[in-house]
């Protein structure tokens, strides 16, 4: 069997990675930067990536780590240094405006959660991964995954009670 090439992987997975990153960041620009930065490293170290049992999970872990590592300074810099706005950004902008008009509250509450909790939620409710795999992606124990998720859900519930009593 021929080993998976980077090109095949990108063909199959890039869209999914972008969606995953959007769920993590909540913002298309940041998501794009996050995926780009990660995929550059994926391509440069492809041989290592392809040796992983599940390359797609391995790459999700890279994206997640990158996301968790982003400090304010570093992503601010990335945003400011972005090249000319492309069509992607414009298209996304429209959607964004529309969406904020909808006042999607859950989405805005998500933004206030600690990053690791948000990542755990995304992995369970968007990626539909079992807890063991979530733990693998986040690099923590299964128990930690469960407690993060329950804490995050508690926070969201509290917000909800507050807004719509």
């Amino acid at each position: 069997m021929t080993p998976l090439t980077y090109e095949e992987f990108a063909d199959a997975q890039l869209g999914a990675m972008l969606r995953y990153a959007v769920m993590l960041c909540g913002d298309p620009h940041l998501a794009q930067d996050l995926v780009q930065e990660t995929m550059v490293r994926v391509q440069l170290n492809w041989r290592k990536v392809v040796r992983a049992d599940a390359p797609d999970r391995y790459v999700r872990r890279m994206i997640t780590n990158q996301y968790l590592d982003w400090r304010r300074g570093s992503w601010l810099r990335r945003v400011l240094l972005r090249a000319e706005p492309d069509e992607t950004a414009k298209a996304a902008h429209v959607d964004h405006a529309q969406l904020s008009a909808d006042r999607d509250q859950i989405w805005s509450w998500l933004a206030r959660l600690p990053k690791a909790q948000r990542a755990a939620l995304v992995l369970r409710y968007y990626e539909d991964l079992p807890d063991a795999e979530i733990a693998d992606v986040l690099g923590c124990a299964v128990g930690t995954v469960r407690s993060s998720i329950s804490r995050a859900l508690a926070t969201l519930r509290a917000e909800m009670v507050e807004t719509c009593p």
């Binding site: 990108a10 890039l14 869209g15 972008l18 969606r19 990153a21 959007v22 769920m23 909540g26 913002d27 298309p28 998501a31 794009q32 995926v35 780009q36 995929m39 550059v40 391509q43 440069l44 492309d86 069509e87 992607t88 950004a89 298209a91 996304a92 959607d95 964004h96 969406l99 999607d104 859950i106 989405w107 998500l110 939620l121 995304v122 409710y125 968007y126 859900l153 969201l156 519930r157 909800m160």
Partner: protein, 346 residues
């Protein structure tokens, strides 16, 4: 129920995801930039070359009207050479002009009065003893020889030390060394209007996005350089050396009848290529080359016999394959040996 709302929220926002095609291109561009940065000017691989030295006079042979070319390169009335010739062609890359190492070491043997050049590649990571200086990789020898503290590298000295080391390793006396820099390889290919190269298996460039399919294709200097630099191949540098030999065969097959183009090729060759001989002059060498009408590769090193000493990896030759070839060259019996061992030659 909060779970359901979460799922819905995620799903609704899927459309925020930017399209992947432009991102894909951005990633590839960033990779190229970073690789370039990573490797700096240390171009891996290649300069294989032989190139011009063999090809240019080769082309001259077919030309009735000889173009005006620089005096020193004209084989003209050089005295005939009636003995076998062994020439080491060193393809060197330059690290921004600060240091040079030989990435390609190709022995070219022309039996006495022969019309066929036999090409033998020595691995660049071959474990060698530099006479009087100790253990090294063959390719580094050039660096040790050429490096001058606080001064420009001395390529002639690098070639001399490499030649001495090749002699000590293989027992072969070298009549000349030909040092080819990248610029030489590229310029000659371009001057010839591209060269057709036939490769055995597909090569995907790690430096550009190009894919070179198996089979024959005509490449310009830039493409050729890119192809010949690739060494992340199934058999690593062995495959790269094989591609280099394919390039030499392609050069020899180049049909150059346009005198202007030919003159350009000759000048390109003169710029990027240095020839140093012991007891043989450049015009003589060219005269021998002019008589050559075929090039064949002899494979002595496609088995991996790596060894690690002090955490440095080296290659070794398989003496059962290499010794008979070296002996045949020494005894000027290579033609007979090849006839008896057709499988080792292509």
């Amino acid at each position: 129920m909060i779970e359901e709302q979460l799922r819905d929220a995620f799903e609704r926002h899927e459309k925020l995801a930017p399209p992947s095609a432009p991102l894909r291109e951005a990633i590839d561009r960033a990779v190229v930039r970073r690789r370039r940065h990573r490797f700096g000017r240390r171009l891996a691989g290649a300069a294989l070359a032989v190139v011009a030295v063999l090809s240019v006079p080769f082309a001259l042979r077919d030309t009735i009207e000889r173009p005006l070319i620089g005096e020193p390169l004209l084989p003209g009335s050089a005295p005939a050479v009636d003995r076998p010739l062994t020439v080491a062609v060193l393809g060197v890359d330059d690290d921004g002009g600060r240091s040079y190492r030989a990435d390609t070491v190709l022995l070219v043997h022309v039996p006495a009065g022969g019309h066929t050049a036999y090409l033998v590649s020595l691995p660049r990571d071959l474990l060698v003893e530099i006479p009087g200086q100790g253990r090294a990789r063959l390719g580094e020898t050039f660096y040790f020889g050429s490096q001058r503290r606080g001064q420009e590298p001395d390529l002639a000295e690098g070639a001399r030390l490499t030649a001495g080391t090749i002699t000590a390793t293989t027992g072969l006396q070298l009549d000349a060394t030909v040092t080819v820099r990248y610029s030489g390889l590229r310029a000659v290919t371009d001057a010839l209007g591209g060269v057709e190269i036939c490769i055995d298996r597909m090569v995907t460039s790690r430096h550009s996005d190009r894919v070179y399919p198996a089979g024959c294709q005509r490449l310009d200097g830039r493409g050729m350089l890119d192809l010949l630099r690739q060494r992340k191949l199934p058999h690593g540098v062995y495959d790269r050396d094989a591609n280099g030999r394919a390039f030499v065969r392609g050069l020899l097959g180049s049909d150059v009848r346009d005198p202007v183009r030919l003159a350009r090729a000759v000048h390109a060759a003169a710029d990027g290529i240095d020839v140093a001989g012991t007891g043989i002059t450049t015009p003589q060498l060219l005269r021998v080359a002019t008589g050559i009408d075929a090039a064949r590769s002899i494979d002595i090193g496609s088995t991996f016999r790596g060894v690690t000493i002090d955490r440095v990896e080296y290659e070794r030759l398989d003496p059962t394959l290499s010794t008979p070839v070296f002996d045949a060259i020494k005894q000027n019996q290579l033609t007979g040996w090849v006839a008896a061992n057709p499988h080792a030659v292509r």
